[in-house]
Amino acid sequence: MEHFALWLAAFLTLGIISFLYKDNAWYKLTEAIFVGLSAGYWFVTLFWDNFYGKFWIGKGEHAYLYVGAFLGLLMLLRLIPKIGWISRWPLSFIVGATSGLWLINYFSSNIMKQVQATIFPLFSSQYGAGFDAGAATVIGNLVIFLGTFTGLVYFFFSKEHKGAFGYTAKVGIWVIMITFGASFGYTVMSRMSLFIGRIDFLLSDWLGMIL
């Protein structure tokens, strides 16, 4: 059985990798298996965890679960085109609750705290210490301050990018591009890691070629 499982896993892995050569039947078969499996897995997980694990088991104890179940039922009305519009009610509940929650979270974590973290003395290690910060700290401070500020200027749409404002925005787009470069680099690293994981499986677990 173990031999079979290993060979099956290797067969599927190589099937996906074969796409690098060209689109082919082996790849399509593997992809179809993957898509079908993941959809099935999600269905089973959600059924047992949500419907059975939460609603069915907990319904006696927590009556409010019926409210959720009812909203869920309304969602399924989509399947009947004539009264499908009712499914918008639970949807609006979700949209409303989510935006309410997120508005505060984003506003405090991604705006207020970030603005606060960007306010610091540029050339000093602490207040009252004079201009005592080392070159590396000063450069770091300047990058954070100028990067945040010019980035904001670039995304300010109420003023034409002309004159000093235009130059600031230009610095902003440079900063954004450099950020994207770093992000791209990280993504390459991520993809390589995933590929190494598969190569390790093929060469080590499957063929036993690596010590």
Binding site: S109, V188, L194, I196, I199, W206, I210
Partner: protein, 336 residues
């Protein structure tokens, strides 16, 4: 010979090759390790061939994309056979995370959220293993949960690996007392939100179906205020962003992050604002953490491959740019 015949031939050779090695493995054959000389010869050959590709490009002959794939594949695979070890410099954010775990008193409760699934495992699983190992070594209590359905299974795999270690066996760690896996819960960010008032309402039973109340480790854990440190292994949504925004900013949880490299750059803003104590970004972060934990896991093992592949990518970026500036792709619009 037709293309079809060539393809069939190639597949046959590969199958025979795999069969030979598989039979060899089943019969107890050991792995292969290059000698230093062979390793250097391989590296030299690769460098020379890259120079040759550069020359071809300058002459106006562009290589096909399959060549790039082959190079990347070779660069990732061959270092696994090489006898070199790579020096791993430690970045401040990794050290900060390590320090924040090290300063915890024995017996402190650490919550680890596994918010990833097998596709991201090569990056995050090594972090999970070394983090759990560090916790156990320092006698910290580990509470595991997952916002992704397969997360708790990944956690079980990591636990199994860590606990099979001789050093850990001596400690005789008990499920329910020293560590517990609360399992998966649907509801994404709302799960974290609800955990702020009650863990039990989100996890009435653990992964095995044992009631929350009958687990000694978590019986007295009501909400985040009973947790001393929290670590989130994340590959996307729901994950790190939600943990920072809700657990940290609303409930004051001390949080460290282990992220896939795709996600990591976005998390540095939270590091800069002091919302998180540290971050392990991608396989590199994992390797640095393993180094600090004095443990050689998979992240360390794979770093050489990672570095080789990066060199190849850099080489092809140079070659690509040469082609770009000699050819000029963007002028297409102007021409039209």
């Amino acid at each position: 010979m037709s293309t079809k015949a060539k393809e069939i031939l190639a597949i046959t050779i590969i199958v025979i090759f795999c069969l030979i090695f598989y039979i060899r493995k089943v019969n107890g054959g050991e792995g292969i390790l290059f000698s230093s000389l062979v390793a250097w010869l391989v590296i030299g050959a690769m460098v020379l061939s890259l120079v040759w590709i550069l020359i071809l490009t300058i002459r106006g002959r562009l290589i096909s994309r399959r060549v790039v794939f082959i190079y990347v594949g070779i660069a990732l695979a061959l270092p696994l056979f090489m006898p070199f070890t790579q020096r791993i410099p430690i970045s401040p954010e990794v050290r900060a995370l390590y320090n924040s775990v090290e300063t915890l008193k024995p017996g402190s409760k650490v919550l680890i959220s596994f918010d990833f699934d097998p596709p991201s495992a090569p990056e995050l699983q090594p972090m999970a293993e070394s983090f759990i190992r560090l916790c156990f070594e320092r006698d910290l209590k580990v509470i595991i949960m997952g916002l992704w359905p397969q997360g708790p299974q990944q956690a079980n795999m990591a636990l199994e690996k860590v606990l099979s270690d001789e050093k850990m066996k001596v400690k005789n760690l008990q499920y329910g007392e020293d560590y517990v896996n609360l399992g998966f819960q649907t509801g994404n960010e709302f799960v974290i939100q609800r955990m702020g008032s009650s863990f039990e309402s989100m996890f009435p039973t653990d992964y095995r179906g044992t009631a929350y109340d009958s687990l000694p480790l978590v019986r007295n854990v009501k909400n985040f205020s009973n947790i001393d440190y929290s670590f989130n292994l994340s590959a996307g949504f729901p994950g790190s962003v939600e943990w920072v925004q809700i657990a940290v900013d609303r409930y004051g949880v001390q949080l460290g992050l282990g992220n896939t490299a795709v996600q990591a750059p976005q998390m540095y803003t939270y590091l800069n604002a002091g919302q998180i104590t540290g971050i392990l970004g991608g396989m590199n972060g994992g390797a640095e953490f393993e180094f600090l934990c004095k443990y050689k896991g998979k992240a360390t093992k794979f770093m050489l491959s990672q570095s080789f592949a990066h060199m190849i990518v850099i080489a092809f970026i140079i070659i690509g740019n040469v082609a770009f500036f000699l050819g000029g792709r963007k002028s297409a619009l102007k021409k039209s």
